[in-house]
Amino acid sequence: MSTLEIKDLHVTVDAEKDTGDGTGHKEILKGVTLTVKSGETHAIMGPNGSGKSTLAYSVAGHPKYTITGGSVTLDGNDVLAMTVDERARAGLFLAMQYPVEVPGVSVSNFLRTAKTAIDGEAPKLRTWVKDVNATLDALNLDATFGQRSVNEGFSGGEKKRHEIAQMELLDPGMAILDETDSGLDIDALKIVSEGVNRFRAKEDKAVLLITHYTRILRYIQPDFVHVFVNGRIADEGGPELAEELEASGYDKYVKAAAV
């Protein structure tokens, strides 16, 4: 069992442009509170630019973001005090919206190195190779995929399936999926959703599913839906909230936030 608790989180980004206020910082998250427990799937839905990725990156520890207030704990442990890799070893996983190319590092080397780091020991070769092949295969990634450089020259769909493959193989307790559905055609969306559902079917897994569209929620049933607007959670509810958003969009929340 694990519990991720985000309390009143305030985050600024080191702006590339002058913010006009002389600080060079721009507040993106303006007090986010959210608790995700094992066995639960939460969907965070919000328009572009509302700060969804900022939330995901902040929990994962991206150096670009500065936490200016609030807390994040995993089973009571201070996540914000951990290094990026410590967070991963504590059981957090982030499937990124824009996975990064690492030229010259093969997928298989990368996966093995990550698995070894997470487990604290090298995986048993025979079962590991079998697991990798089966996982790639289930995500419709062919056998030569392991020899390719991480994310280099991958199609959009391959990048997202590769993220899901990592999630399944590294087997974290808590997975944050940042717009894993974006840019996927319907077949790829189904394949990715099946991967997420396989993961959810295991014991004590928690999923925080960040999405812009309701489409993926037809394949992955959330237990809770949070509407994210302008750096805050504007509304919360059960799966029915997603249906409401499907019908009426984010307009009323965006307008309310602008007042």
Binding site: A60, T83, V84, L94, M96, G104, T113, Q166
Partner: protein, 392 residues
């Protein structure tokens, strides 16, 4: 004063030392080089030192021996000194070490020539002539190690349809100075893969020029270098496309670490009027691992005909990419290990393209050894959120 050189891509050579005044460091071709550290190779240093040994391992069929300069075939590549150091080597060196691969020979193993220096006090002049006969296939690995003050002229002559992989591996001790002038003549439809790997030495300056004896020739130049604190590593390349349908592809990659590490890469390509239908691409990438390093990178393409297949160049110098490190670390991989992966990845495709199986393991191990000097020793001192410079 000296030779009339209108463009440094049209140098006029001379065997006469009087035509090569002592450089002062302001000349285009010398402006990056720390002349003071050349131990007089460019000036008056006596070049008759003998404190070294040479070991040769050659498969059957290869003739590898020393020939007195007078009776040698030196100059066969069309080489004429265009700078004072190579002119001095030409004047001073008594012998030419000659490696000949007969026409149509297919060598089973590489030829290994290992030069070991035993001191820096007396400067040494060396000459090497490599001749690969028509349609022959060969690999030559030249290894430099130990301490030396060394200047050499290398000529490489490929007959029609010949294929040569030429590797020069600078694994010098920290106090070595090595100035090398190399010229290749690539026959019709022949292909040369020229590989320079430079790890050691205090000052290493290689000046490599290549040209074609007929159409259809192919030149690939690959370079891998790793400069530590205080090291100066300079590679100057010049491909002269003087024949139609020729191709050249240059990829040099380097890493720099430690105070005063300095690398220079000059990539000159000239496409002459008669060189129609040629293709050329050159790139240089540098990975700066610590503060206090300098990587100079100057690609230069001079095109005299519009009738070409393609010509391009790229040059980029960057620090560790924070996004790459974040991605790897977000998968549980510790910072040091992430840095190691990124640097190995940076060099990996290059090592693969060198494609000399006998060297692959050694190169990977040398990269690892270089990394352990700095990057892996204390990653935290480098700052985990160092600003990122990324160019593409």
């Amino acid at each position: 004063m000296g030779l009339d050189v209108s463009s440094h891509l049209h140098p006029v050579g001379s065997f006469d030392l009087a035509d090569h005044p002592v450089p002062n460091g302001r000349e285009e071709v010398w402006r990056f080089t720390p002349l003071k550290r050349l131990r007089g190779l460019h000036d008056e240093a006596v070049l008759t030192g003998t404190d070294f040994d040479v070991k040769v391992e050659a498969p059957e069929g290869v003739v590898a021996h020393s020939v007195p300069s007078a009776g040698s075939e030196r100059g066969a590549s069309g080489f004429v000194p265009t700078d004072r150091v190579s002119a001095r080597v030409w004047q001073s060196a008594a012998d030419v070490f000659t490696v000949e691969v007969p026409a149509e020979a297919e060598l089973s193993d590489p030829v290994f020539v290992t030069f070991t220096g035993h001191g820096t006090a007396e400067a040494v002049a060396g000459q090497l002539l490599v001749k690969v006969g028509a349609h022959a296939t060969a690999t030559l690995v030249l290894r430099f190690q130990g301490s030396a003050t060394f200047a050499d002229n290398v000529e490489i002559v490929l007959g029609d349809g010949a294929r040569l992989t030429y590797v020069t591996l600078q694994d010098w001790a920290d106090d070595a100075v090595h100035h090398s002038t190399q010229h290749a003549l690539v026959g019709r439809d022949a292909s040369l893969k020229h590989v320079a790997v430079t790890f050691g030495g205090d000052v290493v300056r290689h000046d490599v020029t290549a040209t074609y004896a007929g159409p259809g020739g192919d030149i690939e130049m690959l370079g891998l270098y790793f400069a530590d604190a205080g090291q100066h590593i300079e590679h100057r390349l010049f491909v002269d496309h003087n024949a139609p349908k020729t191709r050249s592809h240059v990829t040099y990659k380097g890493a720099l670490q430690g105070q005063g590490a300095h690398t220079v890469w000059i990539g000159n390509v000239l496409i002459r009027k008669e060189a129609e239908g040629i293709e050329t691409y050159e790139e240089n990438r540098n990975l700066v691992l610590t503060d206090g390093c300098q990587a100079d990178s100057v690609p230069n393409l001079e095109i005299e005909t519009g009738e070409i297949e393609g010509a391009g160049h790229a040059s980029a110098t960057g620090r560790f990419d924070d996004e790459q490190l974040f991605y790897l670390r977000s998968r549980g991989i510790e910072e040091k290990e992430a840095r190691r992966l990124v640097v190995h990845g940076f060099f990996n495709d290059l090592i693969r393209r060198i494609a000399v199986p006998e060297l692959e393991e050694q190169l990977a191990a040398t990269v690892e050894a270089e990394l352990s000097k700095n990057v892996l020793r204390d990653a935290s001192s480098l700052g985990s959120s160092a600003t990122m410079v990324k160019e593409d």
